[in-house]
């Protein structure tokens, strides 16, 4: 059915693991954050937690698999994850979404 170029396809095929030690850098931009809790709720490894005001903070950076899901699901562009190479991250995301019941037909 699909004949269009899908620019991300190539990237998605790259994969593999990275050294556990390489820590992510997670930034929470408080001025834009509305404390909705989405990032924390869906972090697959429970890296993020919420303070009494509901704002997220990094609780356990070690566990971050840099999947970037917190970043793309944040409705307010208020959290960012500095990651390793694009290809690797994509591979992870894909895995994660799939486990949640989705065959990502789009890419």
């Amino acid at each position: 059915m699909e004949k269009e170029k899908s620019p991300s396809k190539g990237a998605a095929s790259a994969g593999g693991g990275e050294p556990k030690a390489e820590l992510a850098k997670i930034d929470i931009f408080r001025a834009w954050c509305k404390a909705c809790g989405i990032c924390a709720a869906f972090c697959p490894t429970k890296v993020l937690a919420r303070d009494e005001g509901g704002y997220p903070y990094v609780q356990d950076l070690e566990k971050c698999i840099k999947c970037g899901l917190c970043e793309i699901r944040c409705p307010d562009f208020a959290i960012t994850v500095e990651t390793i190479g694009k290809g690797k991250r994509r591979a992870r995301e894909k895995r994660e979404e799939t486990t949640q019941g989705i065959a990502d037909s789009g890419q």
């Binding site: 909705c36 970043e71 307010d76 994850v81 990651t83």
Partner: protein, 278 residues
């Protein structure tokens, strides 16, 4: 700045106030991110994009991004978009609407745009409610649910937006959810590169209005529901209709080649030119 954020910030308007207007946790912001990623991937120039919307929470989306943005009247976005595209077919026209905007007051423009197959992409944020005006039922509010104008339970059948688009003749129709944000940007990307009229229905939550009235919990809980109810179309096609009640069938529902309006009109110009000479 991290990569994705850099990307997002490349497209956000710097002279517009953030945080944006939507409620904490609203799905529209997630859609905005998905749209930006898709646009970036297809590599359109900011100057060739016209992002059109109607009126509603969802229709507040364009104002935050640095394209030509056109916030029109309630339900009429596609009519403006039609004029833009036909007057300058080189422009990439993208239309964002809410379920009320697209399917209540704007339902006719939607089916006619689908029928004409003018080359543009329509993204409908379906949160099953009129968010902006305070939670009245929309044409996609399911039977039995509550809304501020249906406190005794809603009695109408809901439209299936994507299925209506298919019946009206759209060349490309896909459905995603904001929970599956990556899939969503992939679907939008495919829609953008499709020649002809393409539709992406993005299921989203309005916890403030729809969620509150129906005790569906916070944004997080409503996102969980999206996660749990989404069924890829490939899988759904093998399931019994009854098993699909309350489910969200996601993926590309239709993708076909049809004559594209602006290309056909170019032929009209040629024919007319020939006749005029005679």
């Amino acid at each position: 700045m991290p990569e994705v954020t850099k990307l997002i910030h490349k497209y956000l308007r710097h002279d517009k106030k953030f945080p944006h207007v939507w409620c904490p946790g609203c799905g529209i912001g997630i859609l905005l991110g998905a749209l930006i990623r898709a646009i970036d991937r297809v590599g359109y120039d900011k100057n060739e994009i016209v992002l059109v919307s109607g009126i509603g929470c969802s229709s507040r989306l364009p104002v935050y991004v640095d394209f030509h943005t056109l916030h029109t009247t309630h339900g009429r976005a596609l009519t403006f978009a039609t004029g833009v595209k036909l007057a300058n077919p080189k422009l990439k026209v993208i239309v964002v609407m809410g379920d009320g905007d697209a399917m209540a007051i704007g339902g006719n423009h939607f089916i006619h745009a689908a029928r004409r197959n003018i080359g543009m992409t329509t993204i409908i944020l379906n949160n099953n409610i009129y968010g902006m005006t305070g939670g009245q039922y929309s044409p996609t509010t399911p039977h039995g649910m509550k809304a501020s104008t249906a406190i005794y339970g809603h009695i109408e059948q809901a439209f299936k937006i994507s299925e209506m688009a298919v019946a009206a003749g759209a060349a490309f129709v896909a459905r995603g959810t904001v929970f599956h944000a990556k899939q969503l940007d992939g679907l939008i990307e495919q829609a953008l590169v499709k020649s002809g009229f393409s539709v992406v229905e993005a299921m989203a939550h309005c916890h403030t209005q729809y969620g509150r009235q129906n005790r569906l919990g916070s944004a997080v809980e409503m996102l969980e529901a999206q996660r749990d109810n989404a069924i890829p179309v490939e899988k759904a096609s093998k399931m019994a209709p009854e098993a699909l009640v309350g489910k969200i069938v996601t993926g590309v529902l239709v993708n076909k080649e049809l004559l594209v309006y602006e290309e056909e009109y170019e032929k009209v110009r040629e024919r007319a030119g020939l006749m005029m000479e005679k």
